[in-house]
């Protein structure tokens, strides 16, 4: 193959490229281009590196003028930020993708059976697979949801399950993200910009499309109502929410109203929105507001983002909420550790995608192990996300470690620990050079009449050298993700 011989001379920048013993998605340990990248590197090398860097800058400008942004709370100097985008895509070979897709379908099926079970007859607890106290002590468990049966018994309609690839070349599930996972708008935005940036390359590559996601999302949401032409809306906390762009984008792409809590009102056991023509009934709400903020009457009384009384309407089945309130219990990182058991219990199958080995500080033996080996582990708060509340043992100071040890001893239920995983890397343009940067992958799964897994998903990349944290709030960027047909 000629491209393999060409590999070292693709661009001068790749000459000095070092893999540092990590799994590289583009380059094999021997320095050869992996088959799935051959076509791309072949075509890109025809452009020359300077041209590629120039197009990177054009792509950055396009994001600014299109206003594809997210909001950062802590940043004083301006609310909106661009999610940095790197134009070298992450490519997933089709065989690997098929395995991922099967694994995700299996996992989300088990998780939905689990949710219906624990808010219902609790067989999995009675059979001794998961202890009751773990469920009841989870921040995501809502006792108000006991006995509820959402439409089609589905709780987690939309999920964004995070995967990482270890140095052994296997994909592991890192988190399930069943509450209100964000980022799908960047997948669509990235693809759009990628097509404009490299039309000549994209044209001839057979990349599986992602653009029909909003349509599939709408179909799934409509399926939740028994009315013939249900009214679907997206509920947002408002323009100051970090993911506001996405809420607005999804509503626009689906052609439905984007509402805030103050636009909705409960009357006579139904939910209505205030329009210029008076009140209009709402049947399905894709809520991007956290569980406990949706109804100040039943949950957080201070919430101004929700709609008083909406939970009563939901309980009567007069409105559908996606995802179902109470779903967050399965997002608890302690409960995550039990997902492989759930798969065996409900489906009688072996898990296709493994979990990252997880130590539960709640368990005495595990806890002792974690406290002793904290220097080589990643400790995470069981109920936080977005890269907050975590400790990376290998990259932390002694006092940070001590602080986490104290927290673990005081609140053992609140912490889990995992061995430090070597996230795989993809070549990335950094300061007019090409460097290896760590990535993860968040494919999006829709659970409706059938299960749809978006081909590819969001590849997040940790732009800081050596960093393993890919979250946008922590200096992460993203890449277009290609599943080739």
């Amino acid at each position: 193959m000629k491209t393999n011989e060409m590999a070292p001379v693709i661009w001068k920048a790749l000459d000095k490229y070092s893999m540092d013993n990590f799994y590289d998605e583009m380059i094999e340990p021997g320095g050869q281009i992996r088959p799935c990248y051959e076509q791309l590197t072949d075509r890109m090398s025809g452009l020359g590196f300077e041209e590629v860097v120039g197009r990177q800058q054009a792509a950055d400008r396009a994001f600014v003028s299109m206003g594809i942004t997210f909001n950062v709370y802590r940043d004083g100097e301006g609310l909106e930020k661009i999610f940095p985008f790197d134009i070298i895509p992450r490519i997933i070979p089709v065989k690997e993708w098929e395995n991922i897709e099967r694994g995700l379908k299996q996992r989300i099926t088990a998780l939905n059976l689990f949710l219906q079970d624990i808010y219902g007859s609790k067989k999995i607890i009675k059979d001794g697979v998961i202890p009751l106290e773990i469920i009841l002590s989870s921040a995501g468990y809502l006792k108000q949801c006991e006995g509820l049966k959402p439409a089609h018994h589905t709780w987690a309609h939309i999920s964004g399950i995070d995967l990482i690839k270890h140095s052994d070349g296997l994909n592991y599930v890192l988190e399930d993200n069943l509450r209100v996972p964000s980022g799908v708008s960047y997948v669509l935005g990235n693809r759009d910009i990628m097509k404009r940036t490299f039309p000549e390359i994209f044209e001839r590559m057979d990349v599986r499309p992602v653009t029909d996601y909003p349509l599939r999302l709408l179909e799934m949401l409509e399926y939740l109502s028994s009315r013939e032409k249900p009214t679907v809306v997206v509920l947002t906390p408002g323009i100051y929410n970090s993911a506001y762009f996405e809420h607005s984008f999804l509503a626009q792409q689906m052609g439905v109203e984007l509402v805030e809590g103050r636009d909705l009102i409960v009357q006579d056991d139904y939910v209505y929105m205030r329009t210029t023509q008076g009140l209009k009934r709402v049947d399905v709400i894709y809520r991007r507001v956290d569980d406990t903020f949706i109804d100040p009457k039943h949950f957080n009384p201070d919430s101004v983002l929700g709609v008083p009384g909406i939970f009563d309407v939901y309980r009567r089945g007069h409105v559908a909420l996606a995802n179902a309130p109470g779903t967050g219990v399965a997002d608890d990182k302690v409960i995550y550790a039990f997902v492989p058991q759930m798969i065996k219990y409900y489906l009688d199958e072996e898990p296709i995608l493994p979990n990252v080995p997880t130590y539960l500080c709640w368990d005495q033996k595990d806890r002792e192990y974690v406290l002793e080996n904290i220097g080589k582990m990643v400790v995470k708060a069981a109920n936080q996300s977005g890269g907050y509340g975590m400790l990376i043992g290998t990259q932390s100071t002694k006092s940070e470690k001590e602080a986490f040890k104290a927290k673990i001893k005081k609140f053992p239920r609140e912490y889990i620990a995992q061995p430090t995983m070597d996230l795989s890397r993809v070549p990335t343009i950094i300061d007019n050079d090409i460097k290896g940067r760590h990535v993860d992958l968040r494919p999006y799964v829709l659970f409706g009449k059938d299960i749809y897994v978006m081909p590819g998903g969001l590849t997040r990349v940790a732009l800081r050298e050596g960093s393993l944290v890919v979250n946008s709030s922590q200096g992460g960027g993203s890449k277009d993700t290609w599943v080739l047909r």
Binding site: M66, G67, E257, Q277, L279
Partner: protein, 309 residues
Amino acid sequence: MLSRVAESICWMNRYIERAENYARFIEVDFNLAMDLPPGTIEGQWRPLVLTTGDEVLFQELYGEFTKNNVIRFLAFDKNNPNSICSCLSAARENARTVREVISSEMWLQINEMYLSIRPMISKTSHSEKFMMEFFRDIKQGSHLFSGIMNATFSRNEGWHFGNMGRFMERADKTDRILDMKYYYLLPNIDYVGTPLDLLQWSALLKSASGFEMYRQTFGKLEVANIVRFLILDKNFPRAVRHCVITGGRTGGFKTKVEKEMGKLRSELDYTDVKDIFEVGLHEYLDQFQTKMNNLGFAIAETFFTDAVV
């Protein structure tokens, strides 16, 4: 359509139109400065601020009506909620809350206008050449926006609310541009009808982009005809009557707004320029402002607030 969304689309359009018209206000004085003998333009900057109705705030922030102060206040000052920069920020903020409803092209245009003015807010002075270009860009940007809206946005409720916002704002501002003449200084009463007087009138016409269209309609510059043209003309797109007709097209008279709008329109239909001078031009323009304000309240009450429930 959601009441909140309708309101935002309406205001998004109003703010852009307002920014455009502020650029036009300032151009009146630029036009005058070109035509008047050197030195005589000083003292003519005050009317600009008086016309906008924000003189109290101006006094607080600046005090003296110098050229630099007035331009800074009207164009770049973010402490003035009606300055060009403030309007464009507000327009964008409104656009951001309705991005899912408007076309991507509309959003892109607003966002780009906003991004282009952002670096100017912090600068304290600008060259004459820069400002001429800046005001031209603002006008162009606004035209581009309304063109994009007309070319890409379905004629649904949202479009109508946006259109109404734009034309209400424009009617209000043409009214104010005319009223500027009231504040312009003439050496004494004998100067009425002299070349200096007519120079001032033609500067107003120019800043409403009406000079050429006026020429085609009436030819010679005459005060009565200029007033007739800017208020009562049915066909000139910045004339008050044209704005009321275009912005207020309604389906019937079901709501209070439609009744008020219809009343305003028929008043203009049956007004003669003689009637205006009988009341007094300044008084007539003032009364019109009040009517527009009341119409604004009626719109908010009927379509936008919780009262809809």
